[in-house]
């Protein structure tokens, strides 16, 4: 009884305290926060920028998540985040969703990544690879049939090929399959797949007959353990990946731009505007520091102009393109309507197909 009486006596006080707490909490001034999420490939760059930005701007907070490009876009299109890190351009379904949700976005290229095809340093016979070779090795039809090097080119030895590649959820996998096989996500499946590129480095470093691929930023610090294979580009020259060859576009078709997508509504907030500005200004230095390849200097200037004008839309109309030069990317009109896939090969694809002289067919054969 006495306990009950006590509770009754204290109830109003307790309630008052609780209410005041809630009210106070609601009225607390929310601290300026910039929220970023998305691709794990872009993460190291954004992390470096966030670190420096917060040093320079005390009181502004930046959070960076890693949900993958697809996961990042999901959150971006729900309006949960300000900026989406993306290792590929926005896709058709995402553009349609953006329209539906009324989300406008500014597309800003921030760096290059060169997919690097690597072999064991003991491998002496492999001097170069063409896109056709890569297709032959990686296409779904190769599963179980292309298992030895001499099946790719007769002059190569009669030795087993062991394959290492990116996990199927990564943008790296999408881009590599699109660039080599001709269709995103279309790949043989009998290879060692890992989202963790260190696993691939270790695998290739330990296996004389291995062939693998991953981002240039993983190759650079591991160049003593694995060897990069020069890839025959559109002009017919075998080019090894390097900061120079990736930047000037001669290392193609395996180099790709990385992006950030900024929600236009968020750009009204000073902290987001400052962060993006800081990103593009300090981009070249920080991108190189985390072992990615910076864009040419004028590309950052063009990106800055685009974001200051608040130009929305994408230069890709919802489709990844292979071997697109950065200059062309800025010349294109920005659109918010996706281009349907059924209109036959797109401009860029046609060009890429014409350019790829050693590719047997213009369009890859449909999957059986």
């Amino acid at each position: 009884m006495s306990l009950l009486a006590q509770i009754q006596a204290r109830a109003p006080q307790a309630a008052a305290a609780l209410v005041s707490l809630l009210v106070l909490n609601c009225s607390v001034f929310a601290q300026a926060t910039v929220t970023v999420d998305g691709s794990s490939t872009v993460f190291p760059i954004t992390e470096a920028v966030a670190e420096e930005f917060q040093k320079a701007n005390a009181g502004v907070r930046v959070t960076v998540g890693v949900s993958g490009t697809g996961g990042g876009f999901k959150k971006f299109l729900r309006g949960e985040i300000d900026i989406c890190d993306a290792s590929r351009p926005i896709q058709v379904a995402e553009m349609i969703e953006a329209k539906k949700q009324g989300i406008e976005y500014v597309e800003l290229p921030v760096a290059f990544d060169g997919l690097t095809v690597v072999i064991n340093p003991k491998n002496e016979f492999l001097k170069e690879l063409t896109v056709a070779d890569l297709k032959k090795i990686w296409e779904p039809a190769a599963q179980g049939t292309i298992t030895k090097w001499n099946q790719v080119r007769p002059e190569w030895p009669d030795a087993k090929i062991t394959l290492y590649g990116a996990g199927s959820d990564s943008g790296t996998f999408d881009y590599f399959t699109e660039a080599t096989v001709g269709k995103a996500k279309s790949s043989r499946t009998d290879f060692t797949a890992s989202e963790d590129d260190n696993v691939l480095v270790k695998g290739v470093a330990a296996d004389k007959n291995a062939l693998g691929y991953f981002g240039y930023s993983y190759y650079a610090p591991n160049a003593s353990k694995v060897k990069a294979v020069p890839i025959v580009n559109a002009a017919g020259k075998a080019i090894a990946p390097s900061a120079t060859s990736i930047e000037d576009g001669s290392y193609n078709p395996l180099s790709r731009p990385l992006f950030i997508y900024v929600n236009k509504k968020s750009l009204a907030r000073a902290e987001v505007r400052n962060f993006v500005d800081f990103y593009l200004k300090n981009g070249p230095k920080l991108v190189a520091e985390v072992r990615y390849v910076p864009l040419p200097a004028d590309a950052y200037a063009k990106s800055t102009a685009r974001f200051q004008k608040g130009e929305i839309g994408t230069a890709f109309a919802g489709h990844s393109e292979i071997g697109l030069h950065i200059d062309e990317l800025f010349k294109r009109p920005l659109v918010t309507e996706p281009r349907p896939d059924s209109n036959g090969p797109k401009e860029g694809e046609k060009k890429a197909a014409e350019a790829k002289a050693d590719k047997p067919a213009e369009k890859p054969a449909q999957k059986p």
């Binding site: 305290a17 190291p44 470096a48 998540g65």
Partner: protein, 303 residues
């Protein structure tokens, strides 16, 4: 006859000795593997295990990077989990054992709680994402994370509570009733104190499982890079406590560890090892606390 018997006995003795050797070998194998793993981890981690490592934020430079935000995040998430799951779990366990009628319904509930304890953690994460983040709009916050881990450990705590309450001899309760105590007095002064050892052990072990959980927290959207702490729970202005930290974004140790493991720079792997040492240290010390508590409470209530 007797020779035959002797042979039989010798055979059994050999079997006995053989099993003892096998058992000892297994123990050595398990502990040895664990020892080697920990030694390897500590060796990789040694250069990084400095106070600055605990007290600095993550960075792109491996030598400057630390686990301050992840450590604080882990502690706060665990705090929320403990505050939510312990009272609920213990109350539910005591109710089921002491108050609930034994009928089909309670039998069904009991079986299902035991089943819930075996649900994979990622499933809890998906449920929390759907319910807490999308339906209840609680955001990807410390509160959401704490509640998610509470779902995870609640069944374990309930089961542990029930087991230890059931182990209390009936004579203790009867003695209490004989002295004229009510049911509540019996439960609160006899049953709960004497089963406290088992309850605490089970709860702490459940919490140490929660400390290492990653999957459900990634599902609800724990972040990878955070270079600030949540708002302080104690403020200088009245009412001096603030619950704003519950709504803060967060990261936890296992996520920070995973992030570093997948970096190209090998020096980040050393950072990951150091994070692993901190995590293992936390888990082991929680288990040690559980052992000490069990030992002390058992002594107190059995003599």
């Amino acid at each position: 006859m007797s020779a035959n018997l002797e042979r039989l006995i010798r055979g059994r003795q050999w079997l006995d000795a053989g099993f003892a050797v096998l058992g000892a070998a297994m123990v050595v194998l398990c502990l040895g593997t664990l020892g080697i793993l920990i030694a390897d981890l500590v060796r990789d981690a040694a250069p990084h295990l400095r106070p600055e490592f605990l007290n600095s934020f993550p960075s792109r430079r491996p030598e400057d990077a630390g686990i301050k935000s992840a450590l604080v995040g882990t502690l706060l998430v665990c705090l929320v989990t403990a505050v939510v799951a312990l009272p609920l779990g213990v109350a539910a366990g005591v109710y089921l054992e002491e108050y609930a009628r034994k009928n089909r319904l309670t039998a069904a509930i009991e079986v299902n709680i035991a089943n819930l304890a075996g649900v994979p953690s990622i499933v809890w994460g998906l449920m929390a994402l759907g319910l807490l983040v999308y339906k209840l709009h609680m955001g990807r916050s410390i509160l959401t994370a704490g509640l998610t881990l509470s779902f995870l450990v609640l069944p374990v705590i309930i089961v542990a509570t029930r087991e230890s309450v059931r182990a209390i001899p009936q004579v203790l309760r009867e003695g209490s009733y004989a002295l004229g105590a009510t049911r509540w007095q019996t439960v609160s002064r006899v049953v709960i104190p004497s089963s406290m050892g088992g309850i605490l052990t089970g709860s702490i072990l459940a919490m140490s499982r929660a400390v290492g959980e990653t999957a459900p927290l990634i599902t609800i959207g724990a972040l990878s890079y955070i270079a600030f702490l949540p708002p302080a729970p104690i403020t200088s202005a009245p009412p001096f406590v603030s619950f704003e930290w519950l709504e803060s974004a967060f990261t936890v140790l296992p996520i920070q560890l995973f992030n570093w493991v997948s970096r190209p720079d090998p020096r980040f792997i050393e950072n990951a090892a150091a994070t692993g040492v901190v995590l293992v240290g936390m888990t082991l010390s929680m288990n040690a606390v559980a052992i000490v508590l069990r030992y002390r409470l058992r002594k107190k209530y059995t003599t």
